[in-house]
Symmetry: C2
Subunit: 354 residues, 2 copies
Amino acid sequence: MSRFFSQKYAGLVPYTPGEQPKERKYIKLNTNESPFPPSAAALKMASEALTTLQLYSDPECRQLVQAAADYYRVGKDEILFTNGSDEILDFAFMAFCDESTPAVFPDITYGFYSVFAELHHVPYEQLPLREDFTIRVEDYLDVQKTVFLANPNAQTGVALSRDEIERIVKSNPKHVVVVDEAYVDFGAESCVPLIHQYDNLLVTQTFSKSRSLAGARLGFGIGSAALIRDLNTIKYSTNPYNVNSLTMAAGIGALQDDGYRAKNCAAVMKTRAETAAALRELGFLLTDSSSNFLLARHPGISGKILYQKLRERGILVRHFDTPRLCEYNRITIGSEGQMKALLAAVREILEEDV
Amino acid sequence: MSRFFSQKYAGLVPYTPGEQPKERKYIKLNTNESPFPPSAAALKMASEALTTLQLYSDPECRQLVQAAADYYRVGKDEILFTNGSDEILDFAFMAFCDESTPAVFPDITYGFYSVFAELHHVPYEQLPLREDFTIRVEDYLDVQKTVFLANPNAQTGVALSRDEIERIVKSNPKHVVVVDEAYVDFGAESCVPLIHQYDNLLVTQTFSKSRSLAGARLGFGIGSAALIRDLNTIKYSTNPYNVNSLTMAAGIGALQDDGYRAKNCAAVMKTRAETAAALRELGFLLTDSSSNFLLARHPGISGKILYQKLRERGILVRHFDTPRLCEYNRITIGSEGQMKALLAAVREILEEDV
């Protein structure tokens, strides 16, 4: 910390992204990236946008907004694109929380929520998941706080049904409920269809997972026009040109080629089922994931040691050194080949150690 | 404003970007874009990065940081890349200003400074430029506030010398001085060489102007390792993956092809001199611009009317409806052909009206 750093942020502990080591080539199953390349249509559109890169990107993202509004069947004024979904979440913490409007979210979820809350000096409560890592819906009814729910939940992969989320949204008419659907395309129900019924619902999504565009940084929020207007006030006061032209073009292409997304999601779900079955056979305990990852622990080996031994073998998974998660590892569903390599390594490690 | 919007931001007046009309094709001289396409090397690198877009971008931007550190002769820990230079300015307002550390900047400068100050509840003072739109250096000596200076200055194009800025930096050892060098490549002296002498100096730049990459959104800050660490604390608490892979690659290509940048800057400066001379001949009064734009007024026609009449003729310039600027228009230096069209339109308008 320099002697100039504002006291306001002196105690801030930033978010730690998944490791991106460059010293050797790993099978990367640690940041929930897609094993499939982006759609050819996305790449073609981005490629065409290269020729006009000397011009500013459209701050209103008009063409992309039109394409997404058509796709999600919402109005153009009900959607806002951002530089990854982290940015729309940041904007939501700014717009809909403050010292007198606290936030609430599960104790196990996307680790950035608490960082955003600390950054913006928003008081927050972390409600414990049940022992089996499911969310207790009753905890969020009439909770008098701005609610942040990842659905499916980050780290656990466990999803609530749309009806369950609707109960939460309905019971909190005075507070915004943010449903972070980063992983929704891998088997959960989206709440986008509810936005016309509830003016306190904001749904966020990303092109990073199911649309294979993590490197392009494209996220968005869908909600009532009034909520989107508020978020635009924040956007135009922080970074009006937040989405660059190449990413915008790639996003349009990806939306046009939705069959490709659907096919890839189906493949991930198939591989997930096969990998989960194989891991169970090896004695692992798993949550019921509707995401592109599994959360797994083995009674015979500590989470940290398994993580380290996989790393030594060139396989990266995500290990969280927190009390409730330290016995687990979060394993991204990669290609069939990658999962075979993972299972072979796991077998080897278990034979050695257990 | 929705009923959920935080009171904290209730009075916020967002920044207004230059207009990007789509209804007809304009000669766009309103947002200081480059008339030249990006370097072929930048496009090639971006194009190659398309194939791995399913992977997250490197949050540390290691390759780009290495390339820029070599280019600017600074350490890798003395540079931070952001999603356009608006983002590094936003981070600087967060990190180095707060309710007890006010900001100070000229009354005529980049309009976003006051928006950032309002957003972050930073008290700020706007010191008037002299009548001739030059900055009074003495006003900024030992000023006991965080200083934001665009050099060359936004809107006016007028530059301070490196020595003048050094006086300001030296006289404010307890406060950060941010020198926003968005336009520095068009004839001003960069303060980057001073960062090793002054730990309170942060220089920001952008790839939007001289490197023809406005649509890619790439900006950066250079300063002492301690300042950069603070800014990284903010970055990793807001948007760790703030620079996408395509933009990162384009940035590396642009740095490698520096001869192209130099050639384009020379062309812009030549066209600027010719256009300024022609406008003076038509009776315009101009500031002494070291930027890729001119700020011009004509005693015989109001700034607003000239703006409107140019617009009707398919030429967009930037008009600011503020007391000290309303008689002026800011005119981006475009290609030779665009400037000829501008001059022809201006002649026509003056003959009609004056």
